[in-house]
């Protein structure tokens, strides 16, 4: 069990700056994120898109903003737990015990949810019948590619993941690649390779088709795919892979007993605390009258939530407001010499 002053859920810009604010005032924190990298939406959705409304930064991309925030955290010792999603929370004697899907458990008086619009989850196939095969014959990511050896694998999608796996698996499997339109959006070199493998008969290409229904009796046996013009084809298949990108879901946090407003969490504007003492929400995921979904608002909310954490993390100390320009204790935390 990891004990810490505050646990931050979400490593997007708001989560990162909140970590900065906690460390500035002498509190330790840990950060959990479901993605495999730091940066949240800025990195996952728009790394190359310029942002124009960060104060004092006339223009920067999502990636640059993320890198600057990471640099700003350099003086501090912060543990990131990437590829982990928070699952459960329970209160034990005033401490929150938060458990992730990897089994990591945190014990902390403060949990700050900086989850953006939720955690990124793979988009799934439309037909409900797919659920019964999920994790057995239908996958949205690949953990062990050996299981596909000498089997028939039907891959759906038009981006790099679908194309890369089609090429890779075609070496040892019979591969069907199915996409809803003629155009693919992957790297041209991979696409050329796919067409080459199609000519050689190593990949069967079906465009303008989508999955209609999986068939089988407990075990997947075949799939019906439907053309844009409604024509249906049946393909024998052992496995189905879907690569449709990611969608944001509130996930298990929705069941934590917090007051929700659509996909957002209601907070007060003094501490950005939810209806549970010691659980805060900051950034895009919080809602209050007048809320703006701007990165700068997330920074402000994180700064206030961090101060609120102090009281619960250091119940016997008094919080004293100080500036980074003049406080010798803050400068020490930053590893700078004071005058």
């Amino acid at each position: 069990m990891i004990r810490t002053d505050a646990l931050i859920i979400g490593a997007g810009p708001t989560g990162l700056f909140t970590a900065h604010q906690l460390n500035i005032i002498g509190l330790k924190c840990e950060i959990v994120d479901n993605l495999d990298k730091i940066g949240g939406q800025c990195i996952e959705l728009y790394p190359d898109k310029p942002i124009y409304d960060i104060p004092a930064v006339p223009e920067c991309t999502g990636e640059e903003l993320t890198n600057n925030l990471i640099n700003q955290l350099k003086p501090f010792d912060i543990n990131f737990h990437l590829n982990e999603r928070v699952e459960e929370v329970k209160n034990e004697n005033g401490q929150w015990h938060v458990k992730t899907n990897n089994g990591t458990v945190f014990s902390t008086p403060n949990v700050i949810i900086a989850g953006g619009v939720g955690s990124f989850e793979p988009r799934k196939f439309t037909p409900k019948e797919c659920e019964q095969y999920e994790g057995k014959s239908i996958f949205y990511s690949i953990k062990d590619k050996k299981i596909f050896k000498d089997k028939t694998v039907s891959i759906f999608g038009g981006g790099d993941s679908a194309l890369d796996w089609a090429v890779e698996l075609s070496a040892n499997s019979n591969v069907n690649l199915i996409h809803r339109r003629n155009e693919f959006r992957g790297a041209q070199s991979t696409l050329d390779k796919v067409y080459e493998l199609e000519k050689e008969g190593k990949i069967n290409l079906f465009t303008k088709y989508q999955l209609k229904i999986p068939k089988g009796n407990g075990k997947l046996d075949s799939i019906d795919i439907q053309h844009e013009n409604k024509e249906i084809k049946n393909l024998k298949t052992d496995y189905v892979l879907g690569f449709f990108g990611l969608i944001m879901q509130l996930g298990p946090i929705a069941n934590w007993g917090l007051n929700l407003n659509k996909k957002t969490i209601e907070v007060d504007t003094e501490k950005f605390q939810t209806n549970q003492k010691g659980i805060y929400a900051v950034g895009d995921i919080c809602s209050y009258p007048g809320k703006l979904k701007l990165i700068l608002s997330g920074f402000h909310e994180g700064a206030l939530a961090a101060r609120a954490c102090f009281k619960l993390a250091r119940p016997n100390e008094k919080y004293r407001f100080e500036f980074t320009t003049s406080s010798s204790s803050i400068l020490k935390r930053l590893g700078k010499k004071s005058d």
Partner: protein
């Protein structure tokens, strides 16, 4: 002001006036019409404002922007009338536009 009709997947229909210059997505969000999430706020990065444009309207609205079809690959159950509503501009020409909303985003 142009009128736009949004029909939810359960059949519930909403006809609202939307200011020119906004997008069909913004028209839905500003009028609290459920069924359009618009997680990314209109930057064409998430495919959660997916709509099906009625066939008779499909060729009358502005054409797909570059990259829109790439995002639509990720939408829930797309068909040939699928569009991202954040990429449809509201003009006098589309007064009366009708869009169907998908079962989920």
């Amino acid at each position: 002001m142009p009128k736009i009709t949004y029909i939810e997947n359960n059949g519930k229909s909403h006809t609202v006036e939307v200011d020119k210059g906004l997008t069909v997505m913004e028209g839905a969000v500003q009028n609290n019409i459920s069924g359009i999430d618009a997680d990314c706020g209109g930057s064409m990065a998430c495919a959660t404002c997916h709509v099906y444009v009625k066939e008779e309207w499909y060729n009358k609205i502005n054409e797909k922007s570059e990259g829109e079809d790439d995002m639509l690959d990720q939408a829930h159950n797309p068909n040939k009338f699928s569009r991202l509503s954040c990429q449809i501009s509201v003009t006098d020409e589309i007064d009366g536009l009708v869009v169907d909303l998908p079962e989920k985003q």
